[in-house]
C-alpha cells in the first residue's frame, strides 16, 4: 500500500495525473477550449485502421458474428401493420463474441493497446457486460484484470443480473471489487489504478469506441452482400453512448451515409441512479434513460477527460421503451425465433418492432446486438426479483408502466409502441449543459462549430438558440 492520502477529496484531486499514467493519452493535445476539442484527430491518433481492428479482434474471438433474418417476428409485425408496411427485421447476434456481448469489441483494442504499451493488467469500473469482456480479453492477452463493480445496496442485496455479471468476471480470472451503491465507484477506480499501475480500460477512451466501429462496418457489408442495399435503419441500445457512436462510425466508414441511426433506451424516469433505495427497484441495470439521457445531453461526465463516445453526433432518432415491452419481446424472440438472449440486449429489438411497423416492406431495419443469457441474466429472473421487491408485475397496456412500481407486460404485439423523444429538445438540453460550463456570450466560433458537430446540427442553428440560452 502507498503512503498517499486516500481520502475522497485527495484521490479525486490526483485524477488528472492518474488518468495520464493509466492511459498513455495526453488529452491536452486535443483540448482547444473548455468546450471544444479535436475529436476526429483524437480518434485518428489511435493509429488503427479498420483492417487492423478486424485483425486484432479476430485474434481474440471477437467479431464476424452472424446476422440473422427474424422471419417469424417480421411476419408477426406485418400482420399488425398497414398494407405494404413491415420492414424486414435483422438481428446481429453479438452474443457470439467471446464473453457473450458486443462489449468484447470495446475491450479488445484496449487489451491490445495495454499489452503493446507494457502494462501488466487492466482495470474497468462497470457493472455491465463490459467487465466480463475486459476479463476475457485480458485473459487472452496474458494480462491481469480488476473489475470495480457496483453490486449491492446497503443491506447487501444485489440484482440477479449484476450478480451474474460479477460471476462472469471472476470466471474469466478477474479480481472483482464488489461495492455498495454510489458514484464513489470512480474514486475506487482511481485508487486502484494508482495502487496497481494498470491500464485504465475505461469504456470511454478512443480505443473502446474504435473497437465498436467494426460492428457497424460488419453490418454494412453483411446487409449489402445478402440484400444488395444498405440498411435503412440501425437500432442501437443506448446508455453511455459508446455502442451508438462506434456503430455509427463503422457504418459511415463503410459508406452507409443514409442509414438512420436510431437510439433506444428503457424508460426509467423517476428513479434516482445513486439512490440506495431505488437501486434494486430497477429491473434494467443498463441501456436505460438514467444513463442514456444524461450521456446524450452531456457526454463529458465520465472517467476520462474527454469522452470518445459522443452519441448526439450520430443520432437521428431516440426511442424509449418500457421494461414490460422489452420483457415481452424477449419472450417473443425465444418462442418465435428459437433463440434465448438476455433481456438488456433486446431493448433495441423492441424499438425495431415499432419502427418496422412504420417502414415499407422492402426496407431493412437492423437490431445491432444481442447478449448472452443464463441464471440471473434472464427476463424470468429479473421479473421474479422485481416481484420479491414489491413491484407489481402484470399483463396489460404498457402505457401503465411506472418505473420502480409497476411492470406491465403487453398482452399483444400491437401494444409494443415505445415513445419517441424530441431530438430538438435533447439538443437544446445539450447546449444548456455547455452553457453551464462557459456562458454562451463567451463561446468562440470554434466552440460553436464544435457544439454544432457534436449535436448533428449546423452552426447557424446553434447561433439561433443563443438568445434563449443567454436568457436562461
Amino acid at each position: 500500500m502507498s503512503g498517499r492520502d486516500l481520502s475522497y477529496a485527495a484521490v479525486m484531486a490526483r485524477k488528472n495525473d492518474i488518468m495520464k499514467a493509466s492511459l498513455g493519452i495526453d488529452y491536452n493535445e486535443y483540448i482547444q477550449s473548455p468546450i471544444a476539442f479535436d475529436y476526429e484527430r483524437m480518434m485518428r491518433d489511435t493509429g488503427y485502421s479498420m483492417e487492423d481492428i478486424l485483425r486484432i479482434q479476430q485474434e481474440t474471438k471477437v467479431g464476424n458474428t452472424p446476422l440473422y433474418e427474424l422471419r417469424r417476428l417480421t411476419e408477426a409485425v406485418r400482420r399488425i401493420s398497414p398494407p405494404g408496411k413491415g420492414a424486414t427485421i435483422l438481428l446481429k447476434d453479438e452474443a457470439a463474441n467471446a464473453s457473450g456481448s458486443f462489449k468484447a469489441r470495446r475491450a479488445s483494442i484496449s487489451a491490445y493497446e495495454a499489452l503493446q504499451k507494457g502494462y501488466k493488467g487492466m482495470i474497468a469500473a462497470t457493472s455491465g457486460n463490459y467487465g466480463a469482456a475486459v476479463a476475457s480479453q485480458a485473459a487472452q492477452r496474458g494480462l491481469k484484470s480488476i473489475i470495480v463493480q457496483e453490486v449491492y445496496d446497503s443491506s447487501g442485496v444485489g440484482q440477479p443480473e449484476i450478480i451474474e455479471k460479477g460471476r462472469a468476471c471472476e470466471a474469466y480470472g478477474a479480481e472483482v471489487l464488489k461495492l455498495t451503491v454510489g458514484p464513489e465507484l470512480f474514486y475506487m477506480l482511481l485508487r486502484t489504478l494508482e495502487e496497481t499501475g494498470f491500464f485504465n480500460a475505461s469504456l470511454y477512451t478512443p480505443f473502446g469506441i474504435r473497437g465498436v466501429e467494426s460492428l457497424g462496418y460488419e453490418i454494412a457489408l453483411q446487409v449489402r452482400q445478402r440484400y444488395h442495399r444498405d440498411p435503412d435503419a440501425v437500432v442501437i441500445t443506448h446508455a453511455g453512448g459508446g455502442n451508438l457512436t462506434g456503430t455509427a462510425r463503422g457504418l459511415h466508414t463503410a459508406g452507409c451515409t443514409h442509414t438512420r441511426i436510431v437510439a433506444c433506451s428503457v424508460d426509467l424516469s423517476g428513479l434516482h441512479m445513486a439512490s440506495d433505495h431505488d437501486f434494486n427497484r430497477k429491473s434494467f441495470t443498463t441501456g436505460h434513460t438514467g444513463f442514456g439521457v444524461p450521456f446524450a445531453t452531456w457526454p463529458d461526465r465520465v472517467d476520462v477527460p474527454r469522452n470518445a463516445a459522443r452519441s448526439m453526433r450520430y443520432m437521428d432518432e431516440y426511442q424509449l421503451v418500457t421494461q414490460g415491452e422489452v420483457f415481452y419481446v424477449t419472450e417473443l424472440l425465444t418462442k418465435l425465433e428459437g433463440i434465448e438472449r438476455g433481456p438488456a440486449g433486446n431493448t433495441s429489438l423492441t424499438a425495431a418492432i415499432t419502427l418496422a411497423r412504420q417502414m415499407d416492406q422492402d426496407q431493412i431495419v437492423v437490431v445491432q446486438e444481442t447478449e448472452y443469457t443464463g441464471a440471473g441474466k434472464h427476463h424470468n429472473s429479473q421479473l421474479s426479483f422485481a416481484r420479491q421487491n414489491g413491484i407489481e408485475v402484470r399483463r396489460g397496456d404498457p402505457k401503465d408502466n411506472i418505473p420502480g412500481k409497476t411492470i406491465v407486460i403487453p398482452e399483444r404485439l400491437e401494444q409494443v409502441w415505445g415513445k419517441v423523444q424530441d431530438m430538438q429538445r435533447l439538443r437544446i438540453s445539450y447546449l444548456k449543459n455547455a452553457a453551464k460550463l462557459v456562458p454562451p456570450e463567451q463561446w468562440s466560433e470554434q466552440d460553436i462549430e464544435f457544439l454544432a458537430a457534436d449535436i448533428k446540427e449546423s452552426p447557424t442553428w446553434v447561433r439561433q438558440q443563443l438568445p434563449e440560452l443567454q436568457a436562461a
Partner: protein, 94 residues
Amino acid sequence: MSKIPKGTWVEIEEVILRPEERATTLPEDTRQTPYVMRVSGFLLHDAELGQRVHIRTIIGRELSGTLRTVNPSYQHSFGDTVPELLTIGTEEEA
C-alpha cells in the same frame, strides 16, 4: 468459533468510506450508509469469522478486511416462474 485454515477461499468486507467521508452529492438515503467493498481471495493465515485478515486475490494482490464468508458461492438462479410470461408467443395469443 472454529478456526478457518490458511489457504481457504474466503470473502472479506472493508468499509472504504464512512458516511461522513463520502461524496457530497449523494441522495439522502445513500448518504447515511457507509461505502463498503467485498472481495474474494485465499486466506493468508488461520483466522476466525469477523476477524481482521489478509487475503491474496486471484490475480495475486494482497488485501485486508474483515473475514465475512468462507467459500463464497453464487446462488443466483432463473427465479420463481413468472406465469405471465408463459403464453407469450404461443397459439393462445397469436
